[in-house]
């Protein structure tokens, strides 16, 4: 038996009434969550394509399919992608790979918690492990997918600039932003399935208004609109880092800092909501 037993108090009071206590609790939980998180991540990474014939191919198939579709549309002049600084296929491929990372990140917290609902209603453990594991999985998947760029760059004879070293930072910015949004929506999404459906509908819309497959217009109403789309600087700057390089980072930095704050808020919201979710999931 342990010599210095920890003491746990459970009452009806709101946990955030004691912010310092809550914050240390959250940090402790995150530290304690590392081991179970790595275990859950390995479990889910192994399991993600277990019941699938094409297996890990599914990691890149959606991006490849989207890229091909946009290439066809662009070649047939159905759309006008604008003046890209690189071969259009590379432009679209980087964009869709980054976008896929973003949608993955946004969908994952809700999916992971839903999948673990049996565990959270029965076992008292730092549930932050679930979100840590989910973020790890999203990150690994995103970077593995980006390896697809190597053969494509070679094929088109494109050489990246030193700016590519900042590429991973850009990817992380996108993932943190998506994951933070997903976490803020997760508690409500666990109660109402409307949230999950709304996420997928709005992601389609959001994709079309984000410069994933076309260049941000310089003027006109679309340009003004892009200024308020947080995904715009994230995608544009990161794509440039991977390809031609850029030093336009203001938008990216602003959105990334906001994303970090949102992520902490999301963690806190998920933490205080958990007991209430357990009530509604298990009755």
């Amino acid at each position: 038996m342990t010599t210095d037993p920890p003491e746990s108090r459970y009452s009806a009071d709101a946990d955030l009434r004691r912010p310092r206590h809550f914050a240390t609790g959250l940090v402790r939980a995150l530290v304690a969550a590392r081991l179970p998180a790595s275990r859950l991540m390995v479990r889910d990474l192994r399991a993600q394509y277990r019941q699938s014939a094409l297996g890990y191919l599914w990691m890149i198939l959606p991006s490849v399919a989207t890229t091909l579709a946009w290439m066809i549309l662009n070649n047939a002049s159905v759309i006008n992608a604008g003046d890209t600084d690189m071969p259009y296929p590379i432009f679209v491929l980087i964009g869709t790979l980054l976008w896929q990372g973003f949608t993955d990140a946004m969908n994952t917290p809700l999916q992971k918690l839903t999948r673990s609902s049996n565990l959270v209603t029965k076992v008292n453990f730092p549930t932050e492990a679930i979100y840590l594991a989910g973020f790890g999985e999203v990150t690994i998947n995103a970077f593995v997918r980006l390896l697809l760029l190597i053969p494509v760059f070679l094929f088109y004879g494109v050489a990246p600039t030193p700016w590519i070293l900042l590429g991973p930072v850009g990817v992380l910015g996108i993932l943190v932003f998506g994951y933070a949004l997903g976490m803020l929506l997760t508690p409500i999404g666990m109660l109402y399935q409307d949230v999950g459906k709304a996420i997928s509908v709005s992601l389609t819309f959001w994709f079309l208004i984000t410069p994933v497959a076309y260049v941000t217009p310089d003027e006109g109403p679309a340009a003004a609109f892009q200024r308020f789309n947080p995904m715009s600087p994230l995608i544009t700057t990161t794509r440039d880092w991977f390809s031609v390089g850029t030093d336009e980072v203001t938008g990216f930095v602003v959105v990334s800092i906001a994303a970090m704050i949102m992520l902490v808020a999301g963690l806190a919201f998920c933490r205080v909501s958990m007991p209430h979710l357990v009530d509604r999931l298990s009755t």
Binding site: S11, A12, V120, K122, N124, V272, H276
Partner: protein
């Protein structure tokens, strides 16, 4: 931790749930908003539309090294209370304080991931419950051994039977070295041999200083393992005391009302005879004294002359699980000639060798020649309860009560200098 300090303090805990799905979701949203609004909850909140108290103002402690049973009818709030103690959900009023590492077996088997193998699930569950990789590596084999699943341990859990999941879940939890174990009806699915193994292991865990809250419908298991027991009824604490007494109270509350308590006269069945009352007392009409004389009286009503009959009775433990004795008049002797009308049949037992406690009796009247039953008392309705008092000057200690004997015997003890053992 001082030993006087309880390991678990449950202090006026209440928990409300909602019947309606839609309302329940809305209330959930409100509660989550309340968390962000930092409001303190003063006192007990009121019930909102469609809500009920799943746990209603329950207070008790669990001391270190104690095994506490929790019994009650389905829906009486046992599992909800356990969930609050475990901390996966918050009370709506009151406070729970748990000192020590506590882990649940709250139906742990169903928390397993069906696609993972048994071994992988043990690893995941143990790491989720805070066990370090190093400690786990030494425990994995004992856990697998204890569960006794053989080669199945490397098969996905969805191929397991419920019992196999139970075995693995129990094996995992008991090896985690927790200060407090919360077990919720998980043992039921195990087979007899495994249950016995579990009881032995749980008793060892308690001997080694562990504490336990056990929810189970198997009252024998509760009796075997727990020293104290709480009875919940409709979310309220109905009884709290030594396991034996609490279980007696619970069994009593679960039984249907005896037929004699009904004011409506029981109709005489087609056989022509109904047993109206069974009474057990000492010759003066008081409660029987342990190992003393007893009179059994059976009142019956016949709507026609039935000819020669015999009768008998069955004595059972208070919870009706074990039959202690059956007595039936011999077919060789003369019978009782039963005419139409109400009769009282009497039997005398010179010494009723029962230990003090509450017992139950059923009776039956059979045809003298064929032995076919004509009337049964206490089979479909509740058997009659009767009490056996301790003999006067009986210095039976609490220790003997604790093991709850059923029978008592006259024993002659040799006294004086003990003879040397013969070689």
């Amino acid at each position: 931790m001082t030993t006087s300090e309880p390991l678990v303090s449950i202090d006026h805990v209440s928990k409300r749930y909602c019947h309606s799905m839609r309302r329940s979701l809305r209330y959930g949203l409100l509660e989550m908003g309340r968390e962000a609004g930092l409001r303190r909850r003063a006192g007990r909140p009121a019930l909102r539309t469609d809500e009920f108290w799943a746990v209603d103002d329950v207070t008790f402690d669990v001391r270190p090294g104690e095994a506490m049973g929790l019994v009650g009818a389905n829906g009486s709030g046992k599992s909800t209370l356990l969930r609050v103690v475990h901390g996966v959900t918050k009370p709506d009023a009151g406070e729970v304080v748990v000192r020590g590492r506590h882990g649940g077996l709250l139906d742990l088997g169903s928390a397993f991931d069906p696609l993972q193998t048994g071994r992988e699930n043990v690893l995941t569950t143990a790491s989720v419950l805070g066990m370090s990789r190093k400690r786990l590596s030494g425990l994995l084999e004992p856990i697998i051994d204890f569960a006794g699943l053989g080669t199945f341990v490397d098969a996905p859990v969805h191929t397991y039977s419920t019992g196999m999941k139970t075995r693995l879940a129990f094996a995992t939890a008991i090896h985690l070295d927790l200060d407090l174990l919360l077990i919720d009806e998980t043992l039921i699915a195990g087979d007899l041999a495994f249950r016995r193994q579990c009881v032995q292991r749980v008793l060892r865990y308690i001997r080694e200083g562990g504490s336990l809250v056990l929810v189970d419908h198997d009252l024998w298991l509760i009796q075997a393992v727990c020293s104290r027991c709480a009875v919940l009824a409709d979310g309220k604490l109905d009884y709290l005391g030594p396991a034996h007494d609490a279980i007696g109270h619970y069994v009593e509350s679960q039984l249907p009302a005896p037929a004699s308590a009904s004011s409506v006269p029981v109709p005489v069945p087609a056989s022509g005879l109904v047993i109206e009352e069974i009474r057990v007392s000492d010759p003066s009409g008081e409660d029987v004294v342990s190992d003393g004389p007893a009179v059994v009286e059976l009142t019956c009503r016949a709507d026609r002359a039935l000819g020669a009959v015999r009768w008998g009775f069955v004595i059972m433990t208070g919870d009706q699980v074990i039959t202690i004795a059956t007595e039936l008049m011999e077919p060789t002797g003369p019978g009782i000639d039963l005419g139409a009308g109400r009769h009282t049949l009497t039997a005398r037992v010179a010494r009723l060798p029962l230990f003090e406690g509450t017992y139950r009796m059923r009776a039956l009247v059979v045809d003298h020649a064929s032995g076919d039953p004509i009337a049964l008392g206490g089979w479909e309705d509740a058997p009659t309860a009767f009490r056996v008092r301790g003999a006067l000057g009986d210095i039976m200690t609490a220790a003997i009560r604790e093991v709850r004997p059923t029978l008592t015997m006259k024993t002659d003890w040799e006294v004086g200098a003990a003879p040397a053992p013969s070689r």
